[in-house]
């Protein structure tokens, strides 16, 4: 049995590990267009900032691939899939080779979705912060740079902002929407995050879609966004990610915004599975969704690996969660924003908000104090009646104890 995994990120590696854990006798080949062993992209901003070392980005020890009997084909991009012959085409040092598989995992991830703006994608001085190579490129160019513009105020954008500010740059963040973190927070909490960014002298421009990026003699010269032109020597584009589907064209694999999978991570093609940022899968409520984040990548990778190894394991659904820190202040959110609100204010500007529909939690957001927030997420997933929640109950320490229902009670001491 030959198993081929396209992608060496969290989903690919989790799948490979699940296969090895299952004890299935098979070969495992991991195809990675990057040249590095498995690393985590999540602390890349901290790496750029200098608080996390390059070494600690790597998630496994040097012996991991050998010990796990995983063939890592690094620097090798998948370019095509032919399910009829059960082969994929890969580009290696400019040459196309073919790899046969008995089972294939598509875990090729997502890439930055550049807005269709002239002078942006691929232009000198314009960076992204998705891969280790991206981060290394920023580090090579950040010296002597004074002003930077970050395009997009999602969590990657804001992490890039902080890294650059801590590197001593004056940073402007431009956002096409009317608030920062538009996918994560409502306008109310976003305004508080914006205020915190401004406290750290970040310039925040809302409702400012990027119109063009201009180049000067020494590289990038300015960003024109909304009605402003901001001079800068560096641009980081963080306008969100999109599944990397180009190499699957013509393969017959069903795609929408991502590769469509069921709760066993099976695609419509026999023996072809998918996991990680590339998938469009059932979320916690069973709705097909695209929710690229680390926990979903690992969880879907584990399920995919188990399925490929012939085990019966079901995916519990993509989790709509995100967490980011804004200059040390934790911010997290899950679910959707809308419906009835329950709000609590904590100390030092901390705040929490839950969104309820029909007495059930449908979303939540946390600022400054995220402790216990996972319990609310669990209450959402389990559809626990949360109509008893009020601001008082929401504030303060919170644990699973809150989910215990009220036992019947006597209220008097019989005389």
């Amino acid at each position: 049995m030959e198993i081929v995994i396209v992608g060496n990120g969290p989903a690919g590696v989790a799948a490979a590990e699940a296969i090895r854990k299952s004890g299935l006798e098979c070969s495992v080949t991991v195809v990675s267009k990057e040249s590095e062993p498995f690393y985590s992209p999540c602390p890349l901003a901290e790496y750029v900032e200098g608080s996390v070392s390059r070494d600690s980005l790597f998630m496994r020890d040097g012996d991991f691939y050998r010990r796990s009997r995983i063939d890592l084909l690094a620097g090798c991009a998948a370019v095509s899939l032919d399910p009829s012959s059960r082969r994929i085409g890969v580009s290696r040092s400019g040459r196309i080779e073919h790899l046969s598989y008995d089972r294939l995992l598509v875990a090729s991830g997502a890439a930055t979705a550049f807005p269709p703006v002239s002078g942006l994608s691929g232009a000198p001085g314009v960076f992204t912060l998705k891969t280790l190579a991206d981060a290394d490129a920023i580090l090579e160019n950040v010296g002597g740079t004074e002003r930077a513009v970050v395009i997009g105020s999602g969590f990657i954008g804001l992490e890039a902002v902080q890294a650059l500010v801590r590197r001593g740059l004056k940073v402007t963040v431009v956002e096409a929407m009317g608030q920062v973190l538009p996918q994560m927070l409502d306008a109310d909490f976003a305004a508080r995050v914006q205020a915190r960014l401004e406290t750290f002298e970040v310039e925040v421009l809302l409702d400012s879609p990027v119109r063009r990026v201009t180049q000067g003699p020494n590289g990038v010269a300015s960003v024109v966004a909304g009605d402003r032109e901001i001079a800068c020597q560096m641009v980081v584009c963080a306008t969100g990610v999109r599944p990397d589907l180009s190499w699957l064209a013509g393969s017959g694999v069903a795609v929408d915004r991502g590769v469509i999978v069921n709760d066993r991570m099976e695609t419509n093609l026999p023996n072809v599975y998918a996991a990680g940022d590339v998938i469009q899968a059932p979320d916690w409520a069973g709705r097909l969704d695209l929710l690229p984040n680390w926990p979903n990548a690992v969880a879907s990778g584990r399920v995919a690996g188990a399925s490929m190894a012939g085990e019966s394991r079901k995916f519990t659904g993509l989790l709509p969660v995100n967490a980011v820190r804004i200059f040390g202040q934790p911010v997290s959110s899950f679910g959707v924003r809308g419906g009835e609100q329950v709000v609590a204010a904590g100390e030092g500007g901390a705040a929490r908000k839950l969104f309820l529909e029909g007495g059930q939690i449908v979303g939540g957001q946390f600022l400054g104090d995220v402790s216990g927030s996972g319990v609310f997420l669990e209450m959402m997933r389990k559809r626990v009646d949360a109509s008893f929640l009020d601001g008082t109950a929401l504030s303060g320490r919170w644990s699973v104890a809150a989910m215990l229902r009220e036992p019947p009670r006597v209220r008097s001491l019989a005389g």
């Binding site: 999540c42 969660v321 996972g374 104890a401 036992p407 009670r409 008097s412």
Partner: protein, 187 residues
């Protein structure tokens, strides 16, 4: 089968002895009087919380297939595959709080002083010496036990069995009364 901490919630009276013992065990000095003055301040990894008329020592249950381990993007949160114990490696933790965001028990918290995730580690030093974890050793009512899942299930079954043959396993009447009377104001 490896041992873990289990809770008989009906025996908890909310004295918080477990909290104190946990903080002391995770201090440098391991002595209450000096632990209180240490920086960073030793923090308990178990919190007794109100649960309607009951109290509940809320703590990591070292889940099978732990969400926090899956969610950790730095490899700081790991599960010992042999024992099932879930621990945080402070050196790798960058405080992204993904683990806090996904823990269904509210058992992983932020340690504001170290900026790292904070949770029950099952007292590795104590258990290596063959002792119970600090919270278990400190619990004056036997609400916390250090046992295997099988033995805990046996205990529970025994309680059920006794009650079916008419041996009272209910809390004493005064305890039931006390719980019923405190429900009104316990927040």
């Amino acid at each position: 089968m490896s041992e873990s901490i289990f809770t008989f919630v009906e025996r908890c009276v909310g004295c918080k002895s477990c909290e104190v013992a946990c903080a002391v065990e995770h201090s440098r000095s391991k002595v209450l009087a000096s632990a209180m003055r240490e920086t960073p301040r030793p923090r308990p990894r178990v919190r007794v919380q109100p649960a309607m008329n009951y109290t509940f020592p809320s703590r990591c249950v070292h889940c099978e297939d732990p969400a926090c381990v899956a969610a950790c993007p730095t490899g700081a949160m790991t599960e010992d595959l042999a024992t099932g114990t879930v621990r945080v490696n402070d050196d790798r933790c960058i405080g992204c709080w993904m683990c806090v965001t996904v823990c269904p028990f509210g058992a992983v918290t932020e340690n504001p002083e170290t900026g790292t995730a904070h949770k029950c580690d099952l007292c590795p030093e104590r258990t290596a010496r063959g002792e119970d974890p600090a919270c278990v050793a400190a619990c004056p009512t036997g609400a916390l036990i250090y046992s295997t899942a099988e033995r805990f299930a046996d205990e529970r079954r025994k309680i059920t069995a006794l009650s079916t043959v008419g041996v009272s396993t209910e809390a004493p009447g005064n305890v039931t009364l006390w719980r019923s009377l405190r429900g009104g104001y316990q927040r």
